[in-house]
Homo-oligomer: 323 residues x 2
Amino acid sequence: MKLLSLLPLLCGLAACTPPARAPTDPLPSWNEGPTKQAILDFVARVTTPGSPDFVPEAERIAAFDNDGTLWQERPTVEVVFLLTRLKAMAEADPAVARDPAVKAALTKDLAYFHEAGPQAILELFGLVYGGVSQEAFIADARAFLAEAKDPATGRKLTALTYRPMRELLDYLRSNGFQTWICSGGTREMMRLVSDSLYGVPPEQVIGTALQLTWKEQDGKWVLWRVPKILTFNDQGAKPVNLSLALGRPPLMAVGNEGGHGDIAMLTYSRSRTGPSFQMLVDHDDAAREHRYAEPDSGSLKAAAANGWTVISMKNDWRTVYRP
Amino acid sequence: MKLLSLLPLLCGLAACTPPARAPTDPLPSWNEGPTKQAILDFVARVTTPGSPDFVPEAERIAAFDNDGTLWQERPTVEVVFLLTRLKAMAEADPAVARDPAVKAALTKDLAYFHEAGPQAILELFGLVYGGVSQEAFIADARAFLAEAKDPATGRKLTALTYRPMRELLDYLRSNGFQTWICSGGTREMMRLVSDSLYGVPPEQVIGTALQLTWKEQDGKWVLWRVPKILTFNDQGAKPVNLSLALGRPPLMAVGNEGGHGDIAMLTYSRSRTGPSFQMLVDHDDAAREHRYAEPDSGSLKAAAANGWTVISMKNDWRTVYRP
């Protein structure tokens, strides 16, 4: 007993087993501090009946980016899938292998795409993801996800989700929020894992999409994937697709710095009449995850200018990955 | 007392006050018969734990057409809005008034559109609904709906919803279903009334949409309506947009005959693995609503061929409109 009572003094503050916390802490993987407090304060503010900022349940919608916000984005799961699929297509069909954009993608010739512009990337998306039935494509994505590993560490890609974010999603839902995903991955891919990884049903997932067409094939009507992008759900496309899906800005939006991908979504949430809350993950944790930043710090500057809450992975998260 | 007990004998079966029903009847505006029974049977089948056809709540999604299914479509509310708006635009701008498609629309010159093809109608949609911020457009639609009346009867257009369908929506929700609208009206217009008329939240409304863009205007970021149709949500576009929104076919789909608009949506629902249920409203009630039919009876033939349940407004509905 005596030894145990000395333990906190012996092992200092940071390196030790966390102190026992009240069993009601909804966010145990978040360190105490202004970020965690901002979440708790906001949720209390909008859910307390009689509060001037009370928001009815029907309007409690939170939109989360996925890559770099709910799971790691180095490598980006969708890009691994795209390249895996492209490689298989090139091996099966010499005409595909000869396409200059395909060659550039498979040899990681970034200069080619800088030259060719974003349209070349969108066309590659169409080629790799189109020309197949929706049903067959989903089956392929499911098979890929079952096996996909991070080439660097050998860990299963679907295992690299952030534990504090899963707690946040659960906490919001227990307070009457709908939790939506609005991210750059394809809808089909994300919908295969959104429920098991995040507790988000498929109909609350917004992502990149190809054009679909309804056509008769061998006497049966099917959804067919036209080899053209309908929407690449990044940057300015996020408010557009949120508006198409929800009809109004989300009460809360959570994204990450790294590629300016979420500035527009957070700005859209901020445009909501009445209270709103925006958070931006800063990838500043080289030891436990990755450390990267935009050359112009565009997202962090926007956060400072607009009052968004920045989440420091290094300082705000006690644990990064789920066990 | 004696007189009252004779009443049923005096007034026959059809013309009389309906007999008192069990207080638990969830569909009091539906006449007893095979259609009502098919609804009750299907819901029992998919919601009874242990039943071989049990469907978990997460998969209980019902998609309803709106025009001609949840409210009347003669006149179609969206078309009244389009023409009202077009008239105001033509009066304000002589260049608009000189446009041959505008002239044809305002003089109801159907021959013009038969000649020019569907593309001309889509371009007209773009002209009338685009070139304005999303916020301003929604404000205009709200103002229109507050006043809009059926030119034939003078009744408020938003009052012409079907009472049996509101009961069906409530009944499904009380059994764990999500009730979605998937219809040809614009998302913005339908979302202004979907909750008050049907209990359907805006995020469960799929409709026609213009292309939107996220742009800076006078120092503020706004959603701007590009004068081009993104999707005209009718016929084959319905399975496409349901798939984009839900990621899988709905368990149940309800539409109406009249313009072949719902054949694809009901076919898509029927393609679901496991149980599913499709219903088609037949507008066969000239006395209480309207009587109209497709020249080729395409929808009714599809219903017969595919086992969809046909709702006869005349025979299956005790009451048509809500009080």
